[in-house]
C-alpha cells in the first residue's frame, strides 16, 4: 500500500527549499569608539530599534558630528535601511559609498551589502554581480557571508553544482557554517547525491551541544526531520525512525516528526506501534495539518488491524474534530473579514484569553508562515508606528510653538531694560574718566611736572597749610621776627617735598597699574555691551528662524500622516485578502479530510452490513 507514496515523495523532497539564515546586523569589525553619537546609534541598533538608530545617525550627520569615522556610519546606515525594509534606499546609499570611497575595505563591505539588498529584493543576477565585485579586503566573517549568499543565489538560479562549491567553501567555525552545510545537503539532493546529502543532514542533526541556542536546535530538528522523510522515501524505515526520534517533542517540527514516525512504523508493518505517535499527535492543536492527518491515519490503521469498532469510533472522532475545525476557521474568517483586521490579529498574538483570540493564536503560525504575508504584516506594523510617531510630533511641535511664544514674551518684557542699558552713556562716562586719568598720568610721567601732582590728599592739605603759614608770616608786618617759624615751615615743606618726590615713582607705577586694570574693565564692559546688542539681534532672529522652521515642519505632518494612514489601509486590505485565501485553502483541506473520514465510515458500514452485523 505505501510504496506509491514514497515514489511520489522523491520529486517533492528534491524541491526542499534552502534555509536562509538572517544575519545579525553588525557594523563591521569591533573597534575603538571614536564618536559617542555613532555609539549611541549602535546602542539602538543592538536593541533592534532600527528607526531611532537611523534618525540618530542622520541627525548626527546633519549636525556635522561623527567626523572621526569615514564611511563607517554610511555603511551602518545602509544596513539599517535594509533591516528596516528599505532595500531601494539602501541600494542608493551603497552605490554612493562605492562612488565616493577609495578604501578597498569599505568598498568590499559596500558590495556585500549591495548584494544582500538585491538578493532580498529577489534579483539574483544583479546580486551575484555585486558579490562578484568583492575583493580580498573583507574579514573572514564577511567572506563566509559572501560565499553563503552566492550559494543561495546558485540554488535560486538552479545551479546546484556551483552552489555545492560555494557552500562548501564556507568556513566550518563561523555563524554561517550550519546553514551552509544544510543548504549544501539540499543542493546535493538536487544533483542526485542523496547519500552525501543524508550524511550531512545526519551530521547536523546528531551534533548537539550545550552551547546550542534555540535557532540552532530548531535547525538540528529540521535536519533530522528532512533526513527522516528522505529515508522513508528511500524505504529505510528503521533509519528514518532513528532520525525522527531525535526531533524534540516540543519544537515546531515535532508534529511532522510524529506523523513521520507513524509512517515509518507502518512501513515496518508495526501497525500497533504506528498508533502510538499518531494518537499522541491527534491530541494536539488541530490547526496543524499534521494533526488533521493523524486523525485520519488512526482509523485507517484500526481498519488494517480489523478493529472495526475502534476504527469506526476513530472516524467519528475525526469527523467531529474536522467539523469543529471548520467552524473555528469560519469564525476566524469572520474576524478577518472585518475592519479591525489585522489589528485584532496583532492583538491576539499578545492576549492570553478569549475564544476568538485563542483561535487566532492557534492559527497564527500557519497564517503567518508565508514570507510575503510576514513582510506585509511587518510593513503594516511599521506604518502603524509611523502614524504614532507623526501624531507625537504634532503634539510636540504645538507645545514648542507655545514655548517659543512664552520665551518671546519674556524677552519682550526684558527688552526695554536691555535697550535702556544699551542706550545709556555709562560706558561713555567711563571712557571720559579714563581719558582724564591718562592725561594726569602723562603729566605726572613728564620730567617737567612737579612731583606734587601725585601727592596724596593729606600731603596736599599739609602743603596748603604750610603755604598759608608762609603767607601769614609775610603779611605779619615784621616777618623777620618770625624767622624761626618760617624756618620750621620750610623744614616741614622740605620733608614733605622729599617724601612726595621719593614716593613719586611708586605712585606713578601704581597709577599705571590702575590704568591697566581700568582698560581691562572697560574692554570687558565694551564686549558685554556688544554681546548684549548681538544677543538682542540674535534673539529676534532666533524666534523668527525657529518659528519658520516649526511652521515648515509642522505643515508637512498632516499630509504625511494622511498618506501613511492610506498606505496602512491598503496594506490591511492586502493582508486580509491573503489571509482569506489561506483560510479558504485550510477549509478545502479540512473538507477533503472530512470527505475521506465520511467515506471511511460508509465503507466500514458497508463491510459490516455485508457481514450481516452493523457496528455500534
Amino acid at each position: 500500500m505505501l510504496p506509491p507514496l514514497f515514489s511520489r515523495l522523491v520529486l517533492l523532497v528534491s524541491l526542499l527549499p534552502p534555509l536562509c539564515h538572517a544575519a545579525t546586523l553588525e557594523p563591521g569589525e569591533p573597534q575603538e569608539l571614536k564618536d559617542l553619537h555613532y555609539g549611541e546609534a549602535l546602542f539602538q541598533l543592538y536593541q533592534e530599534a532600527y528607526f531611532p538608530a537611523i534618525i540618530r545617525l542622520l541627525a548626527a550627520r546633519e549636525q556635522g558630528l561623527m567626523k572621526a569615522y569615514e564611511d563607517e556610519p554610511e555603511l551602518l546606515l545602509g544596513g539599517l535601511y535594509l533591516a528596516y525594509g528599505m532595500p531601494n534606499t539602501a541600494e542608493s546609499l551603497f552605490e554612493r559609498v562605492l562612488n565616493q570611497s577609495v578604501e578597498s575595505k569599505i568598498k568590499d563591505r559596500a558590495w556585500l551589502h549591495l548584494g544582500k539588498a538585491r538578493h532580498r529584493r529577489g534579483e539574483p543576477v544583479s546580486a551575484q554581480k555585486a558579490l562578484g565585485e568583492i575583493g580580498e579586503a573583507l574579514p573572514s566573517e564577511g567572506k563566509d557571508e559572501k560565499r553563503y549568499l552566492e550559494g543561495l543565489i546558485d540554488l535560486q538560479r538552479d545551479a546546484p553544482d556551483k552552489a555545492i562549491d560555494d557552500l562548501s567553501s564556507v568556513s566550518q567555525e563561523g555563524e554561517w557554517s550550519l546553514y551552509a552545510r544544510y543548504n549544501q545537503a539540499i543542493a546535493m539532493l538536487r544533483t542526485d547525491r542523496q547519500a552525501e546529502a543524508l550524511g550531512i543532514l545526519q551530521e547536523i542533526g546528531d551534533a548537539r551541544s550545550d552551547s546550542d541556542n534555540e535557532e540552532t536546535r530548531a535547525l538540528r530538528d529540521q535536519a533530522n526531520l528532512a533526513r527522516g522523510y528522505l529515508l522513508l522515501e528511500a524505504q529505510q524505515p528503521e533509519a528514518a525512525k532513528d532520525s525522527l526520534q531525535r526531533v524534540r517533542l516540543q519544537g515546531s517540527a515535532s508534529n511532522r516528526a510524529l506523523l513521520g514516525l507513524g509512517w515509518a512504523s507502518l512501513q515496518l508493518n508495526q501497525r500497533e506501534q504506528a498508533l502510538v505517535p499518531w494518537q499522541l499527535l491527534a491530541k494536539r492543536n488541530t490547526s496543524d495539518p499534521a494533526v488533521l492527518e493523524a486523525k485520519l491515519a488512526i482509523p485507517y490503521v484500526y481498519g488494517v488491524l480489523e478493529a472495526e469498532q475502534q476504527s469506526l469510533q476513530a472516524y467519528r472522532d475525526a469527523i467531529s474534530a474536522y467539523d469543529e475545525s471548520l467552524s473555528s476557521v469560519d469564525r476566524v474568517i469572520r474576524q478577518v473579514d472585518q475592519e479591525a483586521f489585522p489589528d485584532n490579529l496583532i492583538a491576539a498574538s499578545g492576549v492570553q484569553s478569549g475564544d476568538i483570540s485563542s483561535e487566532f493564536r492557534s492559527l497564527l503560525p500557519y497564517l503567518l508562515s508565508g514570507n510575503l504575508f510576514q513582510e506585509r504584516l511587518q510593513d503594516y506594523q511599521d506604518l502603524l508606528r509611523l502614524e504614532e510617531n507623526l501624531r507625537q510630533w504634532q503634539e510636540k511641535t504645538s507645545s514648542y510653538r507655545t514655548m517659543l511664544a512664552t520665551q518671546q514674551q519674556a524677552y519682550d518684557e526684558k527688552l526695554p531694560q536691555v535697550e535702556a542699558h544699551l542706550k545709556g552713556d555709562r560706558l561713555q562716562q567711563l571712557n571720559a574718566e579714563r581719558d582724564e586719568l591718562f592725561k594726569r598720568y602723562l603729566q605726572a610721567a613728564s620730567d617737567e611736572e612737579p612731583a606734587f601732582i601725585l601727592a596724596t590728599e593729606e600731603e596736599k592739605k599739609l602743603l596748603g597749610r604750610l603755604q598759608r603759614i608762609d603767607d601769614l608770616i609775610d603779611g605779619s608786618g615784621a616777618p623777620e621776627r618770625l624767622q624761626g617759624q618760617r624756618d620750621i615751615a620750610r623744614l616741614l615743606q622740605g620733608i614733605l617735598t622729599w617724601q612726595t618726590v621719593t614716593e613719586h615713582p611708586a605712585r606713578l607705577w601704581n597709577l599705571k597699574k590702575q590704568m591697566r586694570e581700568l582698560d581691562q574693565n572697560l574692554e570687558t564692559a565694551q564686549t558685554q555691551e556688544q554681546e548684549l546688542a548681538q544677543a538682542k539681534e540674535q534673539a529676534v532672529n532666533r524666534f523668527a528662524v525657529f518659528g519658520t522652521r516649526i511652521d515648515a515642519l509642522e505643515g508637512q505632518i498632516p499630509k504625511l500622516l494622511a498618506q501613511v494612514t492610506q498606505a496602512r489601509t491598503q496594506q490591511a486590505a492586502q493582508l486580509r485578502a491573503m489571509a482569506l485565501e489561506q483560510l479558504d485553502q485550510r477549509k478545502n483541506l479540512i473538507n477533503n479530510y472530512l470527505i475521506q473520514a465520511r467515506f471511511g465510515v460508509a465503507n466500514l458500514l458497508d463491510i459490516s452490513s455485508e457481514r450481516g452485523a452493523a457496528p455500534q
Binding site: 555609539g39 543592538y46 541627525a59 528596516y84 534606499t89 529584493r121 492586502q574
Partner: protein, 176 residues
Amino acid sequence: MKTLLRNAIILLCCLCAPLMAADPQSQPGPGLDRQVEHLKQSVIALNRELFVLEEELLFPGNTQVSVFLSVDTGTFFKLDSVQLQIDDKELANHLYTERELKALQRGGVQRLYLGNIKSGSHELIAFFTGEGPQGRDYKRGATVSFEKGIGPKYLELKIVDSVALQQPDFEVREWE
C-alpha cells in the same frame, strides 16, 4: 489510502515552509512596497529635521550637556542601575534591562542624560550599582569636575574591566 498518501505528500511540501521567512520576496508587490518605502523615507527625513530642531531649541549648544554611558566586556561587573548627579542635583536614575546590557556590552553607548547647565565649573557624580566579582553586591561612585564652555559638553561614564586588579574600574571621560 491513496488519498491519505496524497495528504502526506502535501504535508511534506509544507515541511520547510515556515523556514522561508528570510527568503527573498517571492511575489513582489512593487506598487505598495515602493509606496511604503517612499513614505518611510519621507517620515525619516521629517524626523531628522524635527530631531535637530528639538535639540537646538531645547538644548542650545551654549548650555547643552550630554552624559553617555559605555561598558567594557562586563567580566567583573554586571550593571543593574546608574544614578547621576550634577552639582548635587539628581538628574538621571536608570535601571537596565538584559537587552540594554547586551547592547552596551556589544559596543553601544547609551545617552543617559541630555540637559542644560550654565557655563562655568561643575561637579558630576555617578553611582553604579550591580553585581561585582564573585557575584557580590557592588556599589561604586565616580566623580569629575568639569568646565562648561560655550559649546556643547559631552561626558562619558566608562565601566572598564581592570584585569590587573580583577575589579571593575569606573572612569569619566570628557569629549571635545
